[in-house]
Amino acid sequence: MTDEVPLAAAKPFRVPTAPCRPGDEPSFPEWKWTPEDLPILPIDCNSEETHEHAYGLIRVLGNDDLAKGEWNPKIDQDTIKLGLEYMLRLRIFDDRMMKLQRTGKLSFYMRSFGEEAIAIAQTMALEQHDWVFPSYRQPGAQFVRGRDMVSMMNHCIGNEMDNVKGRQMPVHYTWKEGHFISISSPVGTQFNQAVGVAMASAYKGEDQITITWLGDGTSAQGDYHYGLNFASVYKPPIILCVVNNQFAISTHANLATGGPNFASRGLPYGIPSFRVDGNDFLALYSITKWARDRASAGHGPTHIEVYTYRAGAHSSSDDPSRYRPKNDHLSWPGGDPIDRLKNHMIACGFWTEEEHEALVERIDQEVVAAYKEATSYGDLANGPYPPASTIFTEVYETVPWHVQEQREELGK
């Protein structure tokens, strides 16, 4: 037995790099999918049958802006118009909130920029009573469920009218009435919690499915494995989504995994797995509707990689110019989700530039009115805040003696 170890011929371990850095020219040569690529599948298919769907990309909106292929959901024009409106509303809302953040009226903000289609199309494909269990990049689901913008803004400000009483950072929405479960900062924790939610629905015999999302970066957490695996074992009615926007703050998805993609991760768990164009409203709607039908019929979970590109900064604290080319998102072959749906509507003849501008104008006014109302209840720079007593309530169902003593000590 000796402790001497010979020197290796091999190089040290590999440290992957991002495909491009500030100053580089972004390019996405792997993008070569069309709406005709992939067949529709029966909702009771098994995971092996989805092999090509996990490695390909479900698209519906072609490069010519027309809807085609077997996955075309063929939804009515009103629903599509509504989808466009929700997406526009989210983008305009986000922009306004960023401005409020820059002026100190909010502490922090995170936009869904470039990813507006995801939560909106997917939530629209569900029933109103289905459970939405989001990360911070899916606030858009609330518009679909009809949440009042003032209420959302009150939360982001953390003012007296915030339904979570100023306890959480902005964008950590909670809305039980809308079956929208509270967003938590530690990334990924919701993934297997959502499986538990879905199991409870099934246990109670309710026709209620659950959808949840996490990011490409977050898929490295143990929670991702727990979610896939518990869903694999118990087969509850759930849709498990990985939003691959190719960045986790500054870290490129090349460092999230060395594998070929995220969708295929579901296959060895025996879960049908799909990759979908995350900037294609119709494709997102279609696969989600399919997965809902599957879950509702008792065939169990579906795993979806939503393939997109984070168009903006990670958050108001982030400066992406330090780690990626400026405006790299403009080179993304998937384009912009709002532009693509709008162009489709125009190409199909049920939308015009004029109508579009009028809609933008109307939403803008609504958002302005909402923020004026919300800030009238207080903003972070000027208050008023929720009273300090809110620190002590709802730690437990009732306030225990030690927390009560502390509340008295604070004397507020």
Partner: protein, 336 residues
């Protein structure tokens, strides 16, 4: 009343809860068909069905997060963690998620999960089948922490824990499953004939947040939980000092009135636990009692605890607080 050991008492609590509330489920590693490695859930799957009593994948983090989700959606899950030493992969889900969801959601969402887990030493389990990690949960607002010590309070406290709308970490002293332990590994006893082995059959509760005064005395207050309650009983007898022995039962929130009035009466206090001394829950008890009883104290509050070392295997009887160490500490409070 039926004579039960602690295993039977815990099983009886779960059985009763499941009978009364269809939203109560229980699961964990080997909990289903087999009935658990400590047999707590034996027979429950057959009785209540595989959708209410079932095995899980071997992933405590997954068990905790699934339980949280079920709790968010109206169920009342009871999750078994096979050994308390293995609760740490679930620590993030418990302290960052389960504990905080009521507060962070403005009360819109709650999750009344109960984690049952066998803790403590004395079964030659070495580093990783002997720990008592209660203190690591007492620092997290939003959690209640309960530690049973007898068949009677095992059933009564578990029932109250599961019915409680807050998440509860429920520790079971595995050394006492089959009998109380008085500190001598060569003299093991069963629960047979012990007064606290008489357990009501159906619905039965002991309220949380209440301590149990096991012995009453005048000259020292001894505070303990789990296995240590029995060892302290023996040590108090050995010491010849007249003591209040308080079984804390609920650690968070603990029973201020019982503890404070006892220490004010006796003027002396010894706190005993198996976990390491540094930042054990004895530290909190000592600090709090000192703050509240300073002018009544006749001698320093003393802690008798496990050492600040990992839990050893062959030498475990030199690790676990012995009757000698405890009675010496009790006598030590009497000289000033």
């Amino acid at each position: 009343m039926v004579e039960m050991n602690m295993i039977e008492a815990l099983r009886s609590a779960l059985d009763d809860l499941m009978q009364r509330d269809p939203n109560v489920l229980t699961f964990g590693e080997d909990v289903g068909y087999f009935g658990g490695v400590f047999r707590i859930t034996d027979g429950l799957q057959e009785k209540h069905g595989a959708h209410r009593v079932f095995d899980t994948p071997l992933a405590e983090g997954g068990i905790a997060s699934m339980a949280m989700g079920m709790g968010l959606n109206g169920l009342r899950p009871v999750a078994e963690i096979q050994f308390a030493d293995y609760i740490f992969p679930a620590y993030d889900q418990i302290v960052n998620e389960i504990a905080k969801v009521r507060h962070r959601s403005g009360g819109e969402f709650t999750t009344p999960v109960t984690f049952r887990t066998p803790a403590g030493g004395g079964i030659r389990g070495g580093h990783h089948h002997s720990q008592s990690p209660e203190a690591q949960f007492t620092h997290t607002p939003g959690l209640k922490v309960v530690y049973c010590s007898t068949p009677l309070n095992a059933k009564g406290l578990l029932t109250s824990s599961v019915e409680c709308n807050d998440p509860v970490i429920f520790f079971e002293p595995k050394r006492c499953y089959n009998g109380p332990f008085y500190g001598d590994p060569h003299k093991l006893s069963t629960w047979k004939g012990h007064p606290d082995a008489d357990v009501p059959e159906g619905e039965f509760r002991i309220p949380l947040e209440q301590a149990n005064v096991v012995m009453e005395g005048t000259d020292c207050t001894v505070i303990a939980w789990g296995t240590m309650v029995h060892i302290c009983q023996q040590a108090i007898n050995d010491s010849g000092v007249s003591c209040d022995l308080i079984d804390l039962q609920t650690l968070v929130p603990w029973d201020r009135d019982t503890v404070v009035s006892s220490v004010k009466k006796t003027g002396r206090c010894v706190i005993v636990h198996e976990a390491p001394k540094t930042s054990g829950f004895g530290a909190e008890m000592s600090a709090s009692i000192q703050e509240r009883c300073f002018y009544h104290l006749e001698s320093p509050i003393t802690r008798v605890t496990g050492w600040d070392t990992p839990f050893p295997h062959t030498t475990e009887w030199d690790y676990i607080p012995s009757t000698e160490r405890i009675s010496k500490a009790i006598r030590g409070t009497q000289v000033d």
